[in-house]
Symmetry: C2
Subunit: 132 residues, 2 copies
Amino acid sequence: MPTMTAAQRRAADKAEYDAFLAQCPSRQLLDRISDKWVTLVLAALEDGPLRYSQLARTIAGVSQKMLTQTLRSLERDGLLTRTVTATVPVTVTYELTELGRSLQAVLTGLKGWAESHMDQVLSARSSYDAQP
Amino acid sequence: MPTMTAAQRRAADKAEYDAFLAQCPSRQLLDRISDKWVTLVLAALEDGPLRYSQLARTIAGVSQKMLTQTLRSLERDGLLTRTVTATVPVTVTYELTELGRSLQAVLTGLKGWAESHMDQVLSARSSYDAQP
DNA sequence: ACGAGCCGCTTCCCGATGGAGAGCAGGCAC
DNA sequence: GTGCCTGCTCTCCATCGGGAAGCGGCTCGT
């Protein structure tokens, strides 16, 4: 945090979000984005817009229900845009917004961490499971 | 799987971890760490070890069941250590491992993102909800 | 000696959540 | 018409998480 006057600091304190508090809106936002489908959808859209069916194929194992639900909440939160093109059959395209890309950068780190530290976690698990 | 044949090793080397595939272990790891309680537990332990009751107090709204369950899985995955001290009453302390700190760095970014982009998300939501 | 209390779980019950699969609108092609 | 394609939406049902109560081991007050 940069320097600020006492008045600015008072205002900032009042408006500060703390995700540890259950009622804080930022905690509710954290609850929504700490979601495997959110992580995977944003990662999938990293390289440009995709259609619904392409997303479903890229993210193996996602149910249609959860994919639709996840996309809707991400759209509502301004993280991606939903575009309907009147082709035949109708084409629906999803694309990250500026805000979405900023979150995507963080979540890509998460997906990358999972992929690169897998071996360490697996060996930790087998050590743990070897205990009585 | 601790030991593997040369053929298995070759296959494993070729098969790089890809969290988009449902069966990939890294996808299962991503499923576990994309969890609000995991994020909050690791964030809470950022400044040093805490006891069970301190964690419960810091992370408002977590149930004992989920706190215990989350801590167990994090311990199993080698992200934190659980230390029982034979005081009276017994004291149980949780502390991040090296591996845990590396994930914590990523997840702190997530918690920080939620807290700092809250305003933009809230305004996106009200725009969205204003639609017919 | 007996009861009460503290800490860190563990168990049980029940409402909420997510997956599987079917249905559906609406455009065109046959 | 009948069929087929996409992008949902609905209907079940198994699983998961929250709330509350119990438990075990120890210590302190009376």
